[in-house]
Symmetry: C2
Subunit: 427 residues, 2 copies
């Protein structure tokens, strides 16, 4: 991998998401050698992927070049690679571009879509965990409307305008809201020769409420908002099959839809090589102790979505969201520095700062620890918090301007098929 040996210990971080970046930032002022490995050369701000998918934002505005973050650091190395295997005995990791040894290893690989073992579904649905995947969804939506213009079969046309979102968590809810706004403001103008009223947006949720991790108020209000936007909500319903044409469920309702977006669950992105005892099967996460150390490995840490840190308050591990990742990343850096200077490590305690979701224009729900509110103010708070958390000043301004423009003009101008998914025109 061509990384020079340094006289200081080497910390290897796998993954440049929220957790990995927070850890790297925490090590910035140390003399340690830091090696960050990611399969993309940019950090992705995942909470806004749904806006890229629905033409509200350009992909470049929610991505940030990883190398730039560490331009001024001397002993920092970034490598574009995928990690294949960890060899804890020899303290080496194997990657697609060669091996690298470590003194301390931080696994911050994040999460990937969980299909719960259903490969037929996996083959036919759309995922939305990365920028390329979001751009695929954007293209597919637009290509479907282009195609709907061409068919004389009503059944086929309706299937092209039928959107099924599996999963009623924040991703599903936010995506459904954004699609509903496209249906209202943009598609009728762009496709005057289609009857856009026939477009259906469905959320299928296996349990009896949306936004399960949030308060009952938030969940109910989100549902109200979605219904007011014309979204069909199907609760206590499970998707069993999707062959690219028909969504079969465990109920009596089936859906003929050309676009199914799977937001029903995530699982840890595991790497081969760790003792299987460390792995929690449900959710494929890595068990860590209160210092975020992987069980039985003193110098391997796991943080963020991939880490499973059970506590009395969170017996199923911490929520797979930005906040725990950021806090763990920060703490793990401190603990590694403490350990290397023979000071005691501090146990990680998760501070729940609350959670929020936006449904559309002036419509959001916010749960703070001591205050829950919904509506216009919540929407402004949501925007403010997301703008602040975006990496990069340029990105903040571009996203802010896009939001302002979209708000004033009721528009989403990034409805561009730059990365064709179906290639309608080649039919």
């Amino acid at each position: 991998m061509n990384i020079p040996q340094s006289s200081f210990p080497r910390v290897v971080i796998i993954g440049g998401g929220f957790a990995g970046l927070a850890a790297a930032k925490g090590l910035e002022k140390s003399e340690l050698q830091v090696v960050l490995i990611d399969k993309h050369n940019y950090h992705t701000f995942q909470p806004l992927l749904y806006q890229v998918a629905t033409g509200g934002l350009e992909p470049d505005s929610i991505a940030f070049p990883l190398r730039k973050l560490f331009n001024d650091l001397d002993n920092f190395y970034f490598r574009l690679a995928e990690v294949v295997k960890i060899n804890p005995d020899e303290k080496v990791i194997k990657t697609t571009i060669g091996d690298v040894d470590y003194d301390e290893l931080i696994i911050a690989t994040g999460s990937t879509t969980n299909f719960f073992g259903n490969s037929q579904i996996q083959k036919h649905v759309m995922e939305m965990k990365s920028i390329p995947q979001s751009l695929n969804i954007r293209s597919l939506i637009l290509e479907n409307f282009e195609e709907a213009l061409l068919t004389s079969s009503i059944q086929e046309r309706n299937a092209l305008m039928n959107f099924v979102i599996v999963g009623g968590g924040p991703t599903g809810v936010e995506l459904a809201g954004a699609l509903a706004e496209m249906k209202k403001g943009i598609l009728p103008k762009d496709y005057p020769d289609l009857d856009i009223r026939q477009m259906q947006i469905n959320i299928i949720q296996s349990s009896d409420c949306l936004l399960k991790g949030m308060s009952a108020e938030a969940s109910e209000k989100a549902e109200d908002f979605l219904i007011s936007l014309g979204v069909n909500i199907w609760k206590n319903l499970r998707v069993l099959e999707y062959d690219g044409k028909i969504v079969k469920t465990n109920g009596t309702d089936h859906f003929r839809a050309e676009t199914v977006i799977w937001a029903a669950g995530v699982q840890g992105e595991l790497i081969e090589g760790l003792d299987t005892n460390c792995i929690v099967e449900r959710g494929s996460r890595i068990k860590v102790n209160e210092y975020n150390q992987v069980l039985n490995y003193e110098n391997i840490y796991a943080i963020g979505d991939v880490a499973f840190l059970a506590s009395d308050k969170n017996p199923n591990g911490l929520p797979m969201m930005a906040q725990p990742a950021l806090q763990q990343g920060k703490m793990v850096a401190k603990n590694i520095l403490a350990k290397l200077s023979n000071k005691p490590q501090k146990p990680f305690v998760y501070k729940d700062k609350g959670s929020m979701a936006t449904i559309g224009r002036n419509k959001a729900v916010v749960d703070l620890p001591h205050w829950k509110f919904q509506g216009v103010f919540a929407w402004f708070v949501w925007m403010f918090v997301h703008l602040l958390s975006l990496v990069g000043f340029r990105n903040k301004i571009i996203v802010f301007f896009n939001w302002l423009y979209n708000y004033i003009r009721f528009d989403r101008e990034n409805r561009l098929i730059i990365r064709p998914f179906k290639r309608v025109l080649k039919k």
Copy 2:
């Protein structure tokens, strides 16, 4: 193609570039039915493609959704398709999504890269005529640097950092300048473990000057600017072969380079079906008369890059640039309206408003009909003119902000490999 028959004549426009859009705009207020066909669902602002390729701009900011341009028009239809053939006898065109008949046809297909018949070169070089192609170049540049980090062969590393641009027209000059600025301001910071001084940027020009269409002052000054930025200029040299590794020329100089960008020429994007007498072989353009009518076809017009309109002043046809395209598009709309109301058509006269090219920060050359100037002021004029010509208010603001940011920060933050070209990490 599912376009309703209207009681008004149907004008079909092939291509949503400068020419096609100008023609469509000119027909906006008429009662004619207008059908615009393009293989992309967006208009591309080609003059700024090189900035997308070099990470200065996001692709979405130089693209504009074609449907949006005609949202408020009743009898306007857009179709995402590729045209396969024209059948002038039956007044029908065949496309990838079905046939459509026309009363008046406007061919505004623009131009494509001209490899002068060399298929080996075509296979190995990069083109820069569309947004996907520009994103491919962006990825390739960055992937090459990632790869250069990994090799221990000096020869290989130098080849990965050696850029050959074939063609010293505006595209080649602007791209070389942008690469030189990346070399100066960004790459040494992003790749501190590479010796970026070894990066070479070469322009190979077959004639004895750059910017052949412009004044001698502009050409000389552009050369000075490029030399001051460290670009190697090779004049009176022709590229004969490129096998993906070595550029062979008709001189004694050969180049070992992993990236060769072909900006040596364009040719009309022809469609099958027209009488071969209408085609000028050199440059593959369609001969038109002073009304932009294709020879022998009264109701087929060709405008923009694909049209060959020879005059005393321009015996080799008009320059293949935005200005003639815009002017022809405007005029052709007027002439079709005149013809359909039995009024005489007006001959097209090209008004040369001048031309310009930018080399880098504070460095541009401008030729106006009665005034030629270079340097800082020229650079501001170049930016102003390009901002004004960009389609869409949102695009103007986003591009302006990016330029401002890049200027103040000496930066180009869109150095993202979102669309991997080589997939270094999968090696």
